[in-house]
């Protein structure tokens, strides 16, 4: 009998429990917090003090809390859609552009459609969903039919969307009442979303997000289409073997994903800005941040409610450290990057059990 020394032993974990996944995610976030703390220290601010400010700023007051929720809304709506796309093994990096196209459609309908007031807002949401879905379906078809990389096409379409908005606000849609600024005219008040009293929380979008999370959870878990999405996402070869059309499923997942991102865009222009203007001020990188939100939710649409709130806190934290500590808002991006970095790194610990030491005798 021989005993084989092994420093690291790695075993597969085919079905990690929910608790394992949660614990590993929390540890990943903690690592990111520690690393981000180092950046605060570089700026000469104690990390503990900075985190204290962030927590107080995000939860300590009514204003803080509602602003946190405001930031959470688009992340929730987009994040739920991204979870669906990711489950179907489609890497939608284009939510930013899909959001903008949703905003464009909503603006067009608000400004030019002449739809009477009770129908205007529903029409804007429908139009926004359709525009976002359209922006997402193109890459889905390209991938399914021609094998073109989804990351590249969805990412590139973001820039097409950004410049489309620039062209609109500088050209055909430039507002006559905006003194030459590159804005569209303000929406008619019938196009304003109802808000939670005195806050910037646009209720319809929040409601859509919460309902979408619940519905998508049900769809993925309990329905025929959800079953097909999971099979395609977990093992495309088995999907082919079972006669499931990967094209159909990919397109469907991107209708949902792009459509919801479009809805988030509707919420931002109809709830917050009431006009279309500088695309980066509308999108605020929500489309990219939502990727981390969806990733952290680990493929569970309901968990997006939790993770989008967490990122609402982080975005609010960016405001707080800018105002209270005079640090750049961009630290938020550093922080987001670190979280994604550690989350992806932690993936191996979800799928494999890693042990250190010596292997037991096998015979």
């Amino acid at each position: 009998m021989m005993k084989t020394p092994a420093w690291i032993q790695i075993d597969r974990r085919p079905s990690p429990s929910g608790l394992t996944v949660f614990a590993i995610s929390v540890i990943a976030i903690l690592f990111a917090l520690v690393m981000a703390g180092l950046f605060f220290e570089f700026y000469g601010v104690s990390a503990l003090r900075a985190y204290g400010y962030i927590i107080k700023g995000a939860f300590g007051s009514r204003l803080g809390l509602t602003e946190t929720v405001r930031g959470m809304i688009p992340l929730l709506v987009i994040g739920v859609g991204l979870v669906v796309a990711f489950r179907a093994l489609f890497w939608n990096i284009g939510a930013e552009g899909q959001l903008l196209m949703g905003a464009v459609a909503a603006s067009g309908i608000a400004l030019f459609s002449g739809i009477p007031s009770p129908w205007l807002i529903p029409a804007m949401f429908l139009g926004g969903f359709a525009a976002g879905a359209l922006w997402g379906v193109g890459p889905a078809i390209l991938k399914a039919k021609l094998g073109i990389n989804d990351v590249i096409t969805t990412l590139m379409l973001n820039y097409v969307a950004i410049y489309t908005v620039h062209w609109l606000i500088l050209g055909p849609w430039k507002g006559l009442t905006q003194r030459g600024f590159p804005y569209t005219d303000r929406f008619p008040t019938a196009a304003f979303l109802p808000m939670l009293g005195g806050t910037r929380i646009h209720l319809p979008t929040l409601a859509i997000g919460l309902v979408a999370a619940a519905v998508m959870y049900f769809v993925v878990k309990k329905t025929r289409v959800g079953f097909e999405i999971r099979v395609v996402g977990e093992n495309p070869d088995a999907a082919k073997y079972a006669g499931i059309s990967q094209t159909k499923i990919t397109v469907l997942a991107m209708v949902i994903s792009g459509g919801l991102a479009g809805v988030a865009g509707v919420g931002e222009v109809a709830g917050i800005h009431h006009m279309l203007f500088n695309p980066s001020s509308i999108a605020l990188s929500y489309g990219y941040t939502a990727i981390i939100v969806a990733w952290l939710a680990r493929r569970n649409p309901l968990a997006v409610i939790l993770t989008s709130f967490l990122f609402g806190v982080i975005m609010r934290g960016g405001d707080v450290i800018k105002i209270s500590l005079g640090l750049p808002f961009q630290l938020v991006n550093v922080f987001n990057g670190l979280i994604l970095f550690f989350l992806i790194g932690s993936e191996i610990f979800v799928r494999y059990r890693v042990r250190f030491g010596t292997k037991k005798e096998t015979a």
Partner: protein
């Protein structure tokens, strides 16, 4: 383990490699089960065996990629522990893998010196390198331009680069893992020429293959591996293809399954002049014609890679036929989608049961309805009926003895035997009239194998027509009512099982038509 430095040999020929009692286990499988191998210096030694017989594992142990769980490696008579490929190279052992390990964007000479400490400091000295490469290339007939980028080379040329890489590192034992599988016949001739030059110059070549023709043509001696064990080592001139075929697939009958005489039903499948391409776009099926009756098992025997895989895919809608028909009255399967074919009552036990036949991360319950989830039994108004799926799982787990904690266990946690029982349970649940079973017992233990065979016979007795594709000739002989021998995508002949003998089938597997064999 006791030291046995000078293993007794009655031979004056010096030995290059001695492996004794090599055991290598992987989770759930014993890849090498006490293998002994003796390779003499200066010979071309073939390792012959079917897929999964343990040839590559054994050579990866010699090359330091795996550590044996038990056993001993002797190199030129000295016991040695080879911990890594680097150590193997330091001991002048080189290996050319089936899939090349080259950097396509680098040049030939850059690939050859990659990882070596050549030149001074951080600088490479290509002039010296190039001279050595040229000399080696000329000496051994390995013409290739040292300055060419690897991606510009043909597969055959890339293989030469791999061989040069090993020679540049002064390998005197060269392991070639199925080197001809990617080559054209002309390139094979070139390679064989090179190998002969190498051994003439004193090198030793270990040649892994499952092709009998190659063994006969190139080797001096051959060791046959079967199911992880070395079953024989013979001198090539003293053996024949037929004997090797017999050794490779095993003659002894291990299993005794009760088989009733067939009750033939109507003709259910009529395949006419079927053609199809493989994944690389080369012809894999070249005009296959055969038929299949209800209540019979038609065994497809052949060395792997002769079109069996493509045949199973074409008949189940996973691969397009380029020509020909496969009529399952009243439909032509070559024009149907995989879903339609499944709905027609065609069951498919796929070759790669884990990678293709199941979703390992999903539960037993869900995997069992992978093909029937749309039926009214499991789905109403687009919503899955979990209770029905649960009941279905309980029934299948009991009937097919799928051992698992519960129906929600992920399939990836199950053993190979349990996964195969699950696939069978699912595929056979709708009383299919035509079953394509590809390597249904491959990699299974004795008990599971027997069970799977019994299940297939039960389906036959029920009246289903079964196409059994297997490389295990024992299995083909035991289960089939007729044996179809396939070679390079063509039917070499169809033999009623009671008239078939191993030698004849073996020769047909090596490319002889039935008429030639029997006359």
């Amino acid at each position: 383990m006791e030291k046995r430095g000078g293993m007794a040999t009655n031979n004056s020929v010096p030995l290059a490699v001695q492996l004794s009692g090599i055991v290598k286990r992987f989770p759930g499988v014993i890849a090498n089960d006490g293998v002994n191998l003796i390779v003499r210096r200066g010979e071309i030694h073939c390792l012959l065996g079917e897929n999964g017989a343990g040839k590559t594992t054994l050579m990866r142990i010699l090359y330091g990629l795996y550590q044996p769980d038990e056993g001993e490696v002797l190199l030129h008579g000295q016991p040695i522990r080879i911990g890594s490929p680097k150590a193997a190279l330091a001991n002048h052992i080189g290996m050319v893998h089936q899939h090349f390990h080259l950097v396509p964007t680098l040049t030939v000479e850059e690939n050859i010196v990659l990882g070596l400490n050549e030149g001074t400091g951080p600088f490479l000295q290509f002039k010296k390198t190039r001279q050595k490469i040229r000399r080696l290339a000329e000496e051994y007939g390995l013409q290739v331009d040292p300055g060419a980028k690897v991606w510009q080379l043909t597969v055959g040329q890339q293989q030469r680069v791999e061989i040069l890489k090993a020679l540049y590192r002064d390998a005197d034992i060269l392991i070639m893992d199925e080197p001809t599988s990617v080559l054209t016949p002309q390139e094979v001739d070139g390679l064989f020429g090179t190998l002969r030059t190498l051994v003439a110059a004193g090198l030793t070549v270990i040649f892994i293959t499952h092709k009998l023709n190659e063994v006969m043509e190139i080797s001096d001696r051959v060791t046959v591996l079967r199911k992880g064990k070395a079953v024989a080592t013979v001198n090539t001139p003293e053996t024949s293809k037929a004997e090797l075929a017999r050794l490779m697939v095993g003659r002894e009958v291990i299993f005794n399954v009760e088989k009733k005489p067939p009750k033939l039903g109507e003709k259910i499948l009529d395949v006419v002049d079927l053609h199809a391409l493989n994944d690389r776009g080369l012809p894999a099926l070249r005009g296959m014609t055969f038929d299949l009756y209800g209540g019979e098992i038609l065994g497809v025997a052949g060395v792997s890679g002769n079109g069996q895989h493509e045949l199973s895919e074409v008949l189940t809608g996973l691969r397009k036929a380029t020509e020909g028909r496969a009529i399952l009255e009243p439909h032509d399967l070559t024009e149907c989608s995989a879903r339609t074919i499944a709905d027609l009552g065609v069951a498919h036990v796929p070759t790669e049961r884990i990678r293709v036949g199941t979703v390992p991360t999903m539960s037993i319950r869900e995997n069992l309805i992978l093909k029937s989830y749309r039926s009214s039994a499991f789905c109403k108004w687009s919503i899955l009926n979990e209770k029905a799926a649960y009941e279905n799982a309980c029934k299948a787990m009991k009937e097919y003895e799928i051992l698992a904690p519960h129906d929600g266990t992920a399939v990836g946690n199950l053993s190979g035997g349990n996964i195969q029982r699950l696939v069978l349970a699912r595929e056979l649940s709708g009383s299919p009239k035509f079953v394509v079973a590809a390597h249904p017992t491959y990699g299974l233990d004795v008990g599971a194998t027997e069970q799977v065979r019994e299940v297939l016979l039960k389906q036959r007795d029920r009246g289903a027509g079964i196409l059994l594709i297997s490389e295990d000739l024992d299995e083909v002989f035991q289960l089939s009512d007729r044996v179809l021998v396939i070679y390079e995508g063509q039917v070499m002949g169809i033999v009623p099982a009671e008239e078939a003998n191993l030698e004849e089938i073996g020769l047909m597997m090596a490319g002889s038509h039935r008429e030639e064999v029997t006359s």
